[in-house]
Amino acid sequence: MSHAHLDDGYSHDDYAGYRHPRHGQSSHGQSSRGRRRAGTAPRLTLDWQHADRAATLREHSRRFGPLPGPDGGKRDLLEEVAAARLTGRGGAGFPTATKMRAVAGRRGAAVVVANGMESEPASEKDQALLARAPHLVLDGISVAAEAVGAAEAHLCLPRTRGWLVDCVLAAVQERQRAGLDRIPVTVHELPHHYVSSEETSLVHWLNGGEAKPTTTPPRPFERGVGKRPTLIDNVETLAHLALIARFGAAWFREAGTREASGTMLTTVTGAVSRPGVYEVEAGTGVGDVLALAGLQVDAEAVLVGGYFGTWHDIASVAGLPFTAAGLRPIGAGPGAGVLFALPAGACGLAEAARVMRYLASQGAQQCGPCIFGLPAIADDLAQLAAGRPEGDPLSRMQRRFPVITGRGACHHPDGAVRMAASALRTFGADAHAHARRRPCLSAQRGRQQTSALPVPRPFAEGDWR
């Protein structure tokens, strides 16, 4: 079992079983009825444990070998990506080949946009990837641009992470000096609101507007940046693309299961002894991923998939694969690969209330159900968490959930409502006690305590451009 871990910078396991992918050998975990055991040969995170900085172009080339030239052919890569069954790693999990074909099939020069916004506060994997292996992402942009016939490429990063922008810009300049990319990559710094990482937000901003979602259709693949067909992929997805271009679909599928191929980056935080970013084989069980990070034995609940995710008892999800297909039966999904284990002393309702308050403040303030609905739910949940209900917040929320869902231009209200509803299910007994003005001890203490979850301070209104 081996894995890469960002924060403490060393490997917890023996690394010897791994062979460089270029040599066509790779070790992978044993399969047991479609579920992978934890641990896989590192791919994206190869050599991370030895690095406290970004890999230089020279180190990168030595690590992964040269990128095949554009003469590899436009159709070939699209076929390889389809055969690899690569899915988007930004949260939606859409098949990447389908998206690429949709863009490639349209008339005129296309545009490629790499999404490194990572507005999910509980996720760190995109910044970890860009900070350690920026050239892998830039390789991915390059091959994607060739494959869909793009004339320009953009990389969107949050304005709040200046250090990351510097790091990526240095890598871009390194490539320019080496004369590597036929299509130059422009790095942009965008306002960092929760909904600013939505793909229509990126398009709107790149077209000179605010980083807010727009009404669809048209979808970006039809009419995006400069009204051109636009491919928008998460930076991790592009990094996988760079490896598929090198080593092929068969190699990619050596890791993972039938339903979910390759590896994925996950961020595990909360009640774990080694919080951080882990690369695991797709299909690894939720419990195994938590165990990698050193789950504390007294933790009972977990937020699966991030702020748009769902709360569950650890016992009920530990045995399921951490994939879209594996979690669908319980109405959950891996999102951007996020797991947050609720510390034993923390109140799940109080955490959910803080997340809900944050999400309510992070909308684009464009659609009525989101502008009014989310703060209303946040109030209900806060009253409940504090054990000071006005009226009956439980039934008020149950009435409001279905009214709000599905009525925004983007899925922001849907995700927020899903999170809140799952908190009421998972912490049901607590919720009824709180509703009877008997809040748990941790909720009473929690008023003085900081949140267990990393809830960012909401931004000032107005900074959308």
């Binding site: 659609c367 009525g368 159900p369 209303a376 409001r400 009214v403 009525r407």
Partner: protein
Amino acid sequence: MTLTLQVDPIACTGHGMCADLLPELIELDEWGYPILADSVPPDLAAHARRAVNACPALALRLVRTQNQLVTRHQLATRRRPPAR
């Protein structure tokens, strides 16, 4: 072909004119924003058009959509999202 009402949620500012003119198909949520019925029956098409034209924000639209014939098999399997 079926007529369907659609609202642009960004353009809509919750005037509520549509619900006044077409209460059969449109109700307002507690904040005054419209909740639309799935499809417009032919006998209400003229009323629906009037509601669309009355919207001060030009947020309401009436669109034609393909009739979806739903077989019993599809009904039975509908719960599962299509494999992508």
